[in-house]
Symmetry: C2
Subunit: 310 residues, 2 copies
C-alpha cells in the first residue's frame, strides 16, 4: 500500500499508534492536537535541536532498510542532545514524501526511530506529514538540562586536555563499503555524566568528523588545538579492513562523520582517562591539548611523527 | 550568488546575523551550538509544533516573494501556538534546498519569518541547513503555557456555542486569483485571551478550512455541530470578488485554508460576542452550536435555508 492509498490522517493515526510504544514522563499531550505539550521538570532549561535527512543527499531507499534509516535519523538529534549534556524529553518527526512511497517504508522509519528512542524513554510527540517529490525526514528533539550542568562548544581553554569517547571511523568505513549496518548509540548517558563534572569545559558530538567538529568547538571557544593522530581510538580490526578497501584508516577516523561520539575538553583537575571510563561506562581516550590558536595534527603516517597544519 | 558559492557555514552565519533582529526573553543560547537553549518561565508547560512548506506542493518560487513565503511558513506554526493559548518562545528553521538556489531567496524567507516573529518577540533560535533537489522549509515553534490555561481540541460539549475570530475566505480567494499578497496575522494574543476564559471549552486554528478544522475539533471532543452558513463572517466586498471569479463565496469561506483564524467553543456562561470582541480586540462571530454528533451546515444558498449533511 502506498501513501496515496492511505491518506494523511490515516497515516498520522498509524504513526500515533506505533508511537504509543515509547512513553515519556514529561509528556502531557502527544500526537493529535494542534501541538504537543511537555512538562519540563522544575528548574530545568530546554534544549532544542533540528536535523534532517534528505533522499538522494543522506540516504537512498534500498541502501539501507527503512528501520535503519529511522534509527540513523534520530541518532543525529539525540547525539546533539547528548553533546549539551541534556536528558531527552521527546521528539517531533516531520515527513515530506511522494504519494507513491510505500506505507511500510514510513512505518519502518518510525519503528527505527522508536527502537533508538525506547532506551532513552524519548517519545515521539508530534510532527507533520506533507507531500513532496523526494522524501525528507526532519526531526526536532527536545531535552531538559539543569542550568549549572550544560555542556557547550565554548569554554575550552589553553592547556585543557582533549578527550573522545568510544572509537572512531566505523560509520565512515561502512559508507566506504557502500553498506550501512549499524548506527552508533548516541552518548546520552555519557553526556549526562560529563555534565556533572565541573572540570569538563566544552563538548561537541562528532557528526561531520573529528577534525571538522573539533574545529567548531575551537572556533566557539576561541582557541586552538594539537592532536596526536596516533592516539585517535579506532575499532579493533579497523586498519586491516581499511587496507582491504585501500583507504587510509586515519583519514576515515579523523574525517568520517556520523560517529556520534563526544569530543570534550577538560581542565587539569579532571579524573584521568581510566577514572573517566569507569564513570562513563565507556572508552575515553585523551588525544591532545587545547592551545592558543590553530589546529595542528601530529601525523602518524609512515611511522615518522611530524606536524601537519589543517 | 547561489548557495553553492556561499557554503553551509557562511549561510548559517548570515541567517544568524539576520536573526539577531528579533530577541526573546527566554533564550539562553541561540544559533551556534549543538542545540538552542531556552528557559521556560516558572510553572509553564511547553507547547511544540512542526509544519512544513514544500516547493511544488505549497509554493513555487515566483508565485510570491521569498519574504511573503517566509511569513506564510511561520504563520502556520504561530497559529498552532495560538490555538493552544500559548505564548511564543522561539522557533527553529530547517531548510533543505538545491545548491543552485539564490542566497537572496533564503535570506528573503528568513526576513519574512522575522517580520512576522518580531511583534511576538519570537526569535529564530536554531535549525538546520541541508542540500536537496527541491526546497522545503520546516519550522518548529515553541511556546509556553500555564497548565490551567491550555486550549485543546477536545473539551467541546453539546450546547456550547461555536465562535470564530475575524473573517474567512481571503486566503482562498487570493489563491483562486493565483496571487498571494497577504498573510493573516496569527491570533496569538487572541488565543492567550481565550485561554484566560474558563468558559472556552475547545479551540483549533483554521489551516485546512473551517469545516475541515471544525471536523478535527469535533472528532477530538467526540461531539457534533450545527453551523449556520449565513453567519459565517466574510471580508467586505468578498462576495462580489468571488462572483467576478465565478467562485462560490461560501465554498471559499467554509473550505479555504490558511485563514489562521481561531474556531472555539464556549459554554453558556461566556460573554456574548460583543463582549468577547472587546476582550480580544478583534471580530468574533457565533456561527453555530455543538450537538451530540454529525456535522450539519444550514446552507444559505439561494436564500432558502436548509440542512446539508457532510
Amino acid at each position: 500500500m502506498r501513501l496515496r492509498d492511505l491518506g494523511e490522517f490515516e497515516l498520522i493515526d498509524r504513526i500515533r499508534r506505533l508511537a504509543a510504544r515509547v512513553q515519556g514522563r514529561d509528556v502531557v499531550l502527544g500526537i493529535g492536537d494542534d501541538a504537543a505539550l511537555l512538562r519540563p521538570r522544575r528548574g530545568e532549561q530546554l534544549v532544542v535541536t533540528s536535523d534532517a535527512m534528505v533522499e538522494g543527499t543522506h540516504f537512498r531507499w534500498g541502501g539501507e532498510t527503512p528501520r535503519m534509516l529511522g534509527r540513523r535519523a534520530l541518532a543525529a538529534n539525540l547525539s546533539d542532545l547528548a553533546a549539551m549534556g541534556s536528558r531527552p524529553m521527546g521528539f517531533l518527526f516531520a515527513l515530506a514524501a511522494p504519494p507513491s512511497l510505500e506505507v511500510r517504508s514510513v512505518t519502518g522509519v518510525v519503528r527505527g526511530m522508536l527502537d533508538l528512542a525506547e532506551p532513552f524513554a524519548c517519545p515521539l510527540v508530534g510532527g507533520n506529514v506533507t507531500r513532496a517529490r523526494e522524501t525528507s525526514i526532519t526531526i526536532t528533539a527536545l531535552g531538559g538540562v539543569r542550568p549549572g550542568r550544560i555542556l557547550m562548544r565554548s569554554g575550552a581553554r589553553p592547556g585543557d586536555r582533549i578527550l573522545v569517547t568510544g572509537k572512531l571511523g566505523l560509520s565512515a568505513l561502512e559508507r566506504a563499503r557502500g553498506r550501512v549496518r549499524t548506527t552508533p548509540r548516541p552518548r546520552v548517558t555519557e553526556g549526562l555524566a560529563l555534565a556533572r563534572l565541573a572540570s569538563v569545559t566544552a563538548c561537541i558530538d562528532i557528526s561531520d568528523g573529528l577534525l571538522a567538529d573539533l574545529g567548531h568547538l575551537l572556533e566557539a571557544s576561541g582557541v586552538g588545538a594539537e592532536i596526536d593522530a596516533s592516539l585517535v581510538p579506532m575499532p579493533r580490526g579497523f586498519a586491516a579492513a581499511c587496507k582491504r578497501l585501500e583507504r587510509d584508516p586515519l583519514q576515515l577516523a579523523l574525517g568520517g562523520g556520523e560517529d556520534y561520539e563526544l569530543i570534550f575538553t577538560a581542565s587539569g583537575n579532571t579524573p584521568d582517562s581510566p577514572a573517566l571510563e569507569r564513570r562513563l561506562g565507556t572508552a575515553v581516550t585523551a588525544i591532545g591539548r587545547i592551545t592558543e590558536r590553530g589546529l595542528r595534527v601530529r601525523g602518524a603516517s609512515g611511522g615518522s611523527p611530524g606536524w601537519r597544519h589543517f
